[in-house]
């Protein structure tokens, strides 16, 4: 049978994937923490979100003490929670307190779930140029634990804690490292410390101009300088993320490293235009460009060339190359005045009859924008996801022929997408802007696949192999051309 399989109504719904799925309503989310496969983030007010897979989020995380804007970090086998109580103009004053407490687990259903008594590590008295809320944690490469905190009311301050106790390090004095920020965060990468701060107007729904900027320093104590040499202590900062894509007001940065070269940033959007303008959790790829962090775009459904970073060849069905016909014009006797004609793209219907009906293997080759090289990538509802994204199906445009992982860690396509795990693909943008593509599960293996990715064994030969950020064989680009 050579019938045309055109699936107009794709099984994937028009899932809104601007932010995360589920009920991801939160303000001032803490850096995402992982515990026994579940993900947690804590927000202002006491509660937080839990996700079984990193994509679908629901309320249920618990934190005592109320107050604002916590951060959480795993240190050893415990989680250190830090948050601000009062201050921030809450209750009328800027006399805030930064508190830390420990828990063996983040799972409120665990019998071990018990926070230690909160300990004050910093305070603002209401008179000084500081407002002790909005703390963040950084464990530097030498194991020293740093906190920055503060709001628009004065300075952002840096203090050091004892990572064993979560108490303020003895004799440590505050250092002012920025002004006119709130919801600051500190991260470290390749010899640089980065301070992220939120600028703009908070808490004004669809009119919130909240945005995240960054400066960097070779020393954790600063000065943190932006891309034009301006100190964050003078208000400097280079944009990391702002409004767009029907969300506005990103604030409260958190960075999570998934693998070498695979990073995400978490934040909240003050308003999700597809969710009544509510404040929601946002997770975006975190890219590094010339030593500066910048938010990647969310991956959008569409039809793409899937191009190898190795050679620039494209993923295609291993089928006959069907030549297109063209009225030849020799350039030495071309009549330049002859009217131009548009040559149509080769169509699926032109070639599909030449394709076998069963499974068809894949290879990589010169991209010629032919039907066997055009892949439609759409999220699959109900298939869940991973930290920051849903699973996708990858099918030949206009067909249901789906890219599939095989038990021997190779690739093929099946004529019809069934929704099984080996046909679901995790797509993550890498810190260098390329993508990695990995099957949810490899047939015959237990557990989800977190290791094997679409990989260029040779220029023309894709396979599945272990993720290696240092090799362009692991990397792909989605191009729509």
């Amino acid at each position: 049978m050579k019938s045309l399989i055109i699936t107009l109504a794709l099984s994937a719904t028009s899932l809104s994937i601007t932010a995360q799925d589920g009920q991801p309503y939160i303000h001032d989310p803490s850096t995402i923490a992982e515990r026994e496969g579940k993900y947690y983030t804590f927000g202002t007010g006491g509660g937080g979100l839990i996700s079984e897979d990193g994509w679908v989020w629901h309320g249920g995380a618990e934190r005592p003490g109320g107050g604002a804007a916590p951060d959480v970090m795993k240190i050893g086998d415990r989680y250190l929670m830090i948050y601000g109580a009062t201050g921030g103009g809450l209750g009328g004053g800027h006399n805030g307190r930064i508190l830390t407490m420990w828990n063996k687990t983040l799972d409120p259903k665990s019998p071990d779930f018990k926070f230690t008594d909160a300990v004050e590590v910093a305070a603002s008295d209401g008179m000084e140029d500081n407002d002790a809320i909005d703390p963040c944690l950084l464990l530097d490469p030498r194991g020293r634990l740093w906190v920055s905190y503060g709001t628009y009311f004065g300075t952002i301050r840096l203090i050091e804690l004892d990572p064993k106790t979560g108490f303020r390090k003895k004799g440590n004095k505050e250092k002012d490292i920025a002004i006119d920020c709130e919801a600051s965060d500190l991260i470290y990468r390749d010899g640089w410390y980065y301070q992220l701060g939120t600028h703009g107007t908070c808490c004004d729904g669809v009119n919130s101009t909240y945005n995240i900027v960054v400066g960097r320093s070779k020393d954790v104590t600063g000065p943190y300088v932006d891309n034009v040499g301006r100190d964050m202590f003078h208000g400097g900062g280079k944009m990391v993320i702002n409004a767009g894509d029907r969300v506005c007001g990103p604030g409260h940065f958190g960075r999570t490293i998934i693998d070498e070269g695979v990073e995400i940033m978490s934040c909240h959007y003050e308003a999700d235009f597809d969710r009544s303008g509510r404040s929601v959790l946002g997770i975006r790829p975190l890219l590094w460009k010339n030593g500066w962090p910048v938010a990647g775009d969310r991956f959008k459904s569409g039809t793409y060339e899937i191009e190898s970073e190795r050679r620039g060849y494209s993923l295609e069905l291993a089928v006959d190359f069907v030549r297109m016909t063209q009225e030849r014009q020799r350039f030495w006797n071309m009549d330049a005045n002859q009217p131009l004609v548009k040559i149509e793209n080769q169509k699926l219907s032109d070639v599909i009859s030449t394709w076998p009906n069963g499974n068809i293997g894949v290879r990589t080759g010169d991209y010629m924008f032919r039907p066997h090289q055009r892949w439609t990538v759409t999220p699959v509802a109900e298939a869940g996801g991973y930290l920051g994204g849903p699973y996708y199906k990858i099918v030949i445009e206009g067909t249901d022929r789906a890219l599939t992982a095989t038990a021997n860690k190779e690739l093929t396509t099946v004529p019809t997408f069934s929704g099984s795990d080996e046909q679901l693909w995790r797509i993550e943008q890498l810190t260098d802007g390329c993508f990695r593509i990995m099957p949810k599960r490899i047939p015959g293996e237990t557990g989800l696949n977190t290791t094997y990715v679409l990989y260029s064994a040779g220029d023309s030969s894709p396979t599945l192999a272990k993720w290696d950020f240092r090799s362009d064989n692991s990397k792909w680009n989605f191009r729509n051309q």
Partner: protein, 647 residues
Amino acid sequence: MLLTLGLLSYLPLCAQNPIIRDQFTADPTARVFNGKMYLYPSHDIPAPAGQRQDWFCMADYHVFSSENLTDWEDHGVIVTHNDVEWVRPESYAMWAPDCVCKNGKYYFYFPASPKSGRGFGIGVGISDSPSGPFRFEPNMIQGAMGIDPCVLIDDDGTSYLYWSGMGIRGCKLKDNMTELDGQSQQMEGLPDGFKEGPFAFKRNGIYYLTFPWVRKEGGTETLAYSTSTSPLGPWTFKGLIMAEHSNGCWTNHHSIVEYKGEWYLFYHHNDLSPKFDKNRSAHIDKITFAKNGDIIEVKPTIRGVGINPSTSRIEIDRYDEPGKGVTVEFVDTANTFKGWYATLTDKDSWLTYRDVDFSDLGASGYLIANVKAENNTELIIKEKNAKGKTLAKVKVVCMTEGQFRRDNRGRWMTLTSSLDYIPKGVTDLYITSADGNVSIDWIQFKNRDKYFQPASSGSARPDDQGFIRRWLLLDPIDKPNRSNTVFTDSYLQENFNKEYFANQFTAVPKSGQQEKVEKQVLTWHGLDSERFNVKLFRFADLNQKQIYGVLFWGVTVINCDEEIPNVRLAAGSNSASSWWLNGEQVLLLSGDRRMVEDDGMSQRLTLKKGKNILRCAVINGPGMSDFCVRFLDESGKPVTNYTINIE
């Protein structure tokens, strides 16, 4: 699960009694090494499951040190009952220790239960440092069965070990400090009654043997002493060092040490465990001697010793008794380590707190007080006594009516107050209130940041980065915006270009000159900013003017020796601002905006030769307000070749 929020202070462990507030510390042996006070206490812990719940329980030792007797550093665990070869693991019997230095080596003596046999033995650890690490002798000291070792090193270098076991015994130690030199002997001449915890020292040629002593049948321990002319007695009983604890705490145990010319008694009490006197905490009080060497009996205080810098947290619940109408309660009865607070119960209540050092507080100092109250009142801080000068009257407002109604009755509030008077040097504080019913956890003095000083006479220059810091600033005009979202371009043009006072866009006012703006009478202030940014919020705050919902005007004069063409005015402001050069608006920064260096730039301008008048208006709703401004040349470099003069 909802857990109550608890607060433990990270701030220094202050030497008010008890001196260590994050763990129990009994039997405090204090020793001075290398000019620093070291403290070797027993470490009471609540008994773990499987141990006798109503008895002393001690698994390890910590060592602490302090330079000033007010800030104590915990150096951590020296040893646990599972770390020493001869000690029975999990025996929880690490009684009172001692540590001495001989020939540069530190010898740590401690009692514990031996693996074999009954009773207690005494072990030794040796280190090059008073805080360890210690290397422990595999065997206990042969011939010394008991607890509470104490070592006296005599002037000739001979060392003696004392301990408690069937009375108090003593013996010479060999030079190696780890073996008895001969047979131990019972100390003779001590009074009848239960005795333990010997502490021996020598002062002015007199040997003192001091010890906890139950002087009457069914009583509790006092601290008592005997003296002798030789280290092993016989002893002459002299009397008490400290009477029984008034609350019934059964034990006491102590050490006596000279430090920086003063003598101190370290002892213990169960303040942090009022219902269980086997969890104890170390105290310090001064101890004095009569001319003949007799010890003057010490009355325990909660103030303890040491001078508090005024800029440290002063826990006035550790006041000097008597005081009047003062009650002291735990901040959290479920976690006594959070300490206490004092309540002035009525308007006549008062207390005094001794020895606060104000030498670290400058003229801009202010007071922070952590208080709670049941009614609006004033907390009054005076120097020395009721007749002393008043430092501050802190307004304690726990209830407000009207638009911003607030009810903080019974809640802890961190309040601040400016100071009417700042004492010099070390003095005592007298604390009372206008109405009573007010509780204080702590107070602290603090130096205020510097923002401005009056403009000096003559000319100023822009700073190295070109920022213009000399300004005439007008007290803020009331402009009651409750949000910055109204600061659209058209709103600003309307409100910035409105005339609020005469000659608003033309005159250069004089410092001190006043303007009438509707009902307000506002003054111009000639100021030099201490910072690159002019903190308008602090300008208003320091002049006790309205800080939110305000419009500021500023004027300054740029004097150029020659024309400077092709420069840009570079400004940042919080929130919106407008800038006029020589009467012409050159920049408008609109919206809800934070102050960023070089946020907005004018088009290219020419600074003319001679006077150029620069004017700005900054408007803000809630939040801090400030601006920074400079001129940049075509290549982005700061322009600095002019002077600034507002006279």
